[in-house]
């Protein structure tokens, strides 16, 4: 690193006793800092002489820029720089999969909130005032706001190449089968926001070597670096990123937001530049979950066996591609759900529109289809007069079942067990609505104006499936550097990766792995940065698997080197070391042979030597899917989870109160049970939010509710007790048998809640979030 001093509060490592190895509920090593206020989030950093940045964004969803006059902003006292697209030295476009998004808009505005100009000034308020002083002349254009229309061939073209960002067809099994019963349904999913509590923020510091150092929140340091290097016209090694504290992510930080803006301003002014988005800007500054329309047709036998599934799925990708192509593939691959079917015919499309760009959010394509296929399963059960659980059990995937892509699920697929366990869990008691009950207990709480006459109890079930790790042949790897040395007579292991800790607890797990593999007490976890190789993205529930695998592999390499050294030094006393090295263990700071006899303490053996190994870890290879048939082996691992939701619905007011969420999930191996439960509970809450609360309201391309007053995320009063059962069926392909945890609970939570509301009301409810008027308007 060229800058010798870190910004104020930025740390370069976390050292706290990680007391406990794999499989134990170990407290977070960053927990102490986080509860005392000392943990430095990317919004908390300071550097000497630092300037503050602000962004000017478009008030129109679709417009042509006729002129940009920055002179009024430059006249304001305290303003150091005002930049537009003219000031971008390298590529004016960036993007994760398709390079189509302007760093700063030129010629055309394609969505409400698109960044046009950036300002650096001596105070955040000055920067904001200056940004507002910039005069932009627009020619307002009609926005394309409907995804069906966008891909109809009749709509204006938003990007060269047309409005279909990707089409994924899947043709599986014999086609055009007949079935006893045909059940059709159309479903719609609204636009959900990740709403991490920490806003987008970062600090860029220009370096003496002509490069730049950035301290920021992101999900993937190296992919940010690659994009930044292109935009800044710098070689990648001159763009150095360090992860600052991240206040949640959930997909919102997979694309760049402020990264290039602060880097450009820092390069221009020669001074450190900091930015912190407001909540409103955060809503405009990151991508959202794709809204979707899903049209399904299921053919089933009278006995309830699925014969065929046809699905037409249209995702609204908004103005720029982001990760739309991968989301589209997920929607197609998981369109049938965790069920066996003889024949599938699926077309998934993702469209360019002039709505806000959509990309990664927890569940990533599998959430949208999860709501649709589980709604269909309920509808089929109702049509056949079958119990919805029995119907699901009859069609549940098992090990070696085929996905619609033709890929076998070649590890545990305990779908039936998940359903059975959910059904067997005790139910919460009915809410009293007679004899002196407390009105607070009713749906709507104190604002409920009835006396509970209209309260109905409903119980709903849903199961979901999702891929873990990057798919479709992507070279998905992570890198870990592990160092062992003796400090003050005690063995100390340092772990260094570029993996983004965003709150999920990877920082704990890295320490647990090192401690277990190398048998040491003291583990220092370095803050993630680009000084080691890429860790890949903190998304697709993949970091425990891939970065966990990299740390494991690097630790094993260090152990092997230590044992080789032991052989060199002590081989005359321990001849078995030569051929039976693998039987030797490192525990409690000692090396012991296969019989448990002491060979040496690490301190005595290692002395002044330093053992350091850097290793990459890859999950098993996957293949692309055939562009015509959708057949292939696109996925490395599958996750299964299910939910039972219990709700009270007041059918007179339309208010819903979720009484309890029960969850069963196979996690392969729970490396930190407390952290696993935390992921399940948090994912359940976000799924509940999509079911009844959360939607970005976009009217004619304009976002109407970019605030926490108007975009509702669940509070504790919306979020009932969660009962969870964790299954541990080891996946033999994965390190320690683990299965990614983060996303699966978000998938089945939403359809379970809606299913429960359906059961309580008898309504079809084909759209999420379900709003009170959806319940009352049909009375």
């Amino acid at each position: 690193m060229s800058n010798s001093t870190l910004p104020t509060k930025q740390r370069d490592h976390v050292e706290a006793p990680v007391l406990g190895g794999l499989g134990e509920s170990v407290a977070r090593p960053d927990g102490t800092l986080k509860v005392t206020g000392d943990f430095a989030y990317s919004s908390d950093l300071w550097a000497d002489g630092m300037l503050w940045a602000s962004t000017l964004r478009s008030p129109h969803p679709h417009a042509r820029i006729k002129s940009i006059n920055i002179a009024p902003a430059l006249k304001i006292n305290g303003v150091s720089a005002v930049l537009t697209h003219d000031d971008v030295p390298g590529s004016k476009l960036y993007g994760l999969e398709i390079v189509d998004q302007p760093v700063l808009a030129f010629d055309t505005i394609r969505f409400h909130g698109e960044a046009i100009a950036i300002v650096a000034a001596d105070h955040p308020e000055t920067a904001k005032r200056a940004a507002q002083a910039i005069v932009v002349e627009y020619e307002i254009l009609e926005p394309v706001v409907d995804a069906d229309y966008a891909i109809s061939g009749n709509a204006p073209v938003i990007h060269d190449g047309g409005n279909i960002t990707r089409h994924v067809p899947i043709i599986f099994g014999p086609q055009n089968l007949k079935a006893d019963v045909v059940v059709k349904g159309e479903y719609e999913v609204g636009m959900q926001d990740q709403a991490p509590l920490g806003p987008e923020s970062g600090l860029a510091i220009p370096a003496d070597d002509g490069g730049i150092d950035l301290y920021l929140s992101t999900q993937w340091l190296h992919v940010d670096r690659g994009q930044l290097a292109t935009v800044l016209g710098l070689p990648p090694e001159k763009v150095r990123l360090t992860l600052a504290g991240v206040g949640g992510a959930f997909g919102a930080r997979e694309d760049m937001s402020m990264q290039a803006h602060i880097a450009l301003l820092a390069m221009r002014t020669g001074k450190p530049v900091k930015i912190v988005y407001s909540r409103e800007e955060s809503f405009f500054g990151h991508v959202h979950r794709h809204p979707a329309k899903l049209r399904y047709e299921h053919g089933v036998t009278k006995e309830g066996k699925l014969v065929y599934v046809k699905a037409n799925i249209v995702l609204d990708g908004g103005a720029y591609a982001s990760s739309s192509p991968a989301v589209c593939a997920n929607a197609a691959c998981f369109a049938v759900g965790p069920y066996e079917v003889e024949s599938a015919t699926i077309d998934a499309y993702v469209a360019y529109t002039n709505n806000p760009p959509c990309g990664a959010m927890r569940g990533f394509g599998a959430v949208q289809t999860g709501f649709a296929y589980e709604s269909q399963m309920d509808k089929i059960a109702e049509t056949l007069g079958m119990d919805p659980i029995e119907l699901r059990l009859k069609n549940a995937m098992v090990r070696d079942s085929l996905m619609p892509t033709g890929q076998p699920v070649d590890s545990a697929a305990p779908v039936a067990e998940i359903l059975e366990k959910l059904r067997a869990m005790p139910l919460p008691p009915l809410t009293a609505t007679t004899d002196g009950f407390d009105v607070i207990e009713l749906p709507g709480g104190a604002s409920n104006v009835t006396h509970g006459e209209g309260v109905r109890r409903g119980i709903g079930y849903a199961v979901g499936i999702k891929n873990i790790g990057f798919s479709e042949g992507f070279d998905d790897y992570s890198t870990a550097k592990v160092r062992l040395q003796i400090i003050n007579g005690e063995p100390v292991v340092e772990v260094h990766t570029a993996a983004a800790e965003v709150g999920q607890g990877l920082v704990t797990l890295k320490g647990q792995i090192a401690r277990t593999e190398l048998g040491v007490q003291r583990v220092v976890v370095h803050v993630s940065d680009t000084q080691v190789g890429s860790a890949g993205s903190t998304s697709a529930s993949r970091q425990s698997y891939v970065t966990g695998g990299a740390v494991m592999t690097a630790c094993k390499a260090v152990r092997d080197e230590v044992l080789l050294y032991a052989m060199e030094k002590l081989g005359h006393l321990h001849p078995h070391l030569l051929h039976f090295r693998a039987n030797y263990k490192m525990v409690n700071g000692e090396i012991r042979d296969g019989e448990g006899q002491l060979v040496s303490s690490l301190a005595d053996l290692v002395k002044d030597r330093v053992f350091e190994c850097t290793r990459e870890y890859r999950h098993r290879p996957t293949t692309p899917i055939d562009p015509i048939t959708g057949q292939g082996l696109p996925h490395a691992q599958f996750a299964f989870a299910g939910h039972r939701a219990v709700v009270d619905v007041d059918i007179e007011t339309g208010m819903v109160k979720v009484i309890e969420m029960a969850s069963v999930q196979d996690v392969g191996k729970a490396l930190n049970p407390q952290a696993v439960e935390g992921q399940i509970e948090g994912g359940t809450a976000q799924g509940l939010g999509l079911a009844i609360l959360e939607e970005i309201q976009v009217v004619n391309g304009k976002v109407k509710n970019p605030s926490f007053t108007d975009y509702l995320i669940p509070t504790v009063l919306d979020m009932p007790p969660v009962r969870s059962i964790i299954l541990e069926y080891a996946d033999e392909h994965a390190p320690y048998g683990l299965r990614g945890v983060g996303e699966a609970p978000t998938i089945s939570s939403t359809p379970a809640v809606v299913s429960a509301i359906r059961q309580a009301t008898g309504l079809a409810l084909t759209r999420v979030p379900v709003r009170p008027e959806h319940i009352t308007s049909t009375l």
């Binding site: 509860v35 206020g37 509590l197 206040g247």
Partner: protein
């Protein structure tokens, strides 16, 4: 533009008396974060919804983002940093959060800790229902609240068992 007029504000923050001159519109949350560099008080929504900026004003939990710094002259302000024991060990609510996995990203945590600290002074033996109501004004996006409720109850338990808490 004329330089903004500055006003004297004298207050006690985490036990330390101090005075400063600030513009009339300087929010208390910005004053704490930017002027005093007490960045443990987080800003998540800027209009009083998320509760991440909750601080204790003369012992009562208030939103730092809804109060002007000048208006708290003469008051006693406690931030999450001020709830650490005098010997540097964690205060009980802080300890309960750490032990009960009451946080993931941790951005909302300071606002919960200050809120719960004040709540437990009023109600040292809350039921689970009371613990839920106590935190109903704070948003958390990571945990689904289950372990935050556990943290409230655990903190009450720690206080009962006589664990040190200096504030």
């Amino acid at each position: 533009m004329n330089p903004e007029e500055l006003f004297l504000v004298e207050l006690t923050v985490n036990g330390n008396p101090l005075s400063a001159r600030v513009p009339a519109r300087r929010l208390l949350s910005d004053f704490l974060r930017h002027d005093l560099r007490l960045t443990g008080t987080h800003v998540g929504c800027e209009h009083g919804v998320c509760g991440a900026c909750t601080i204790l004003l003369d012992g009562k939990p208030v939103r730092g983002c809804l109060i002007f710094a000048v208006s708290v002259s003469g008051s006693n302000v406690t931030t999450v940093e001020g709830l650490v024991n005098n010997d540097g060990s964690l205060g009980v609510v802080q300890r309960a959060f750490h032990e009960s996995h009451g946080l993931q990203c941790g951005f909302c945590t300071p606002g919960f800790i200050t809120t719960i600290h004040a709540f437990l002074k009023e109600n040292p033996h809350p039921t689970e229902e009371e613990a839920r109501e106590a935190i109903a004004g704070n948003l958390c996006r990571c945990t689904g609240y289950q372990n935050i409720i556990k943290s409230v109850l655990r903190a009450a338990e720690l206080i009962d068992s006589g664990v040190r808490d200096d504030h």
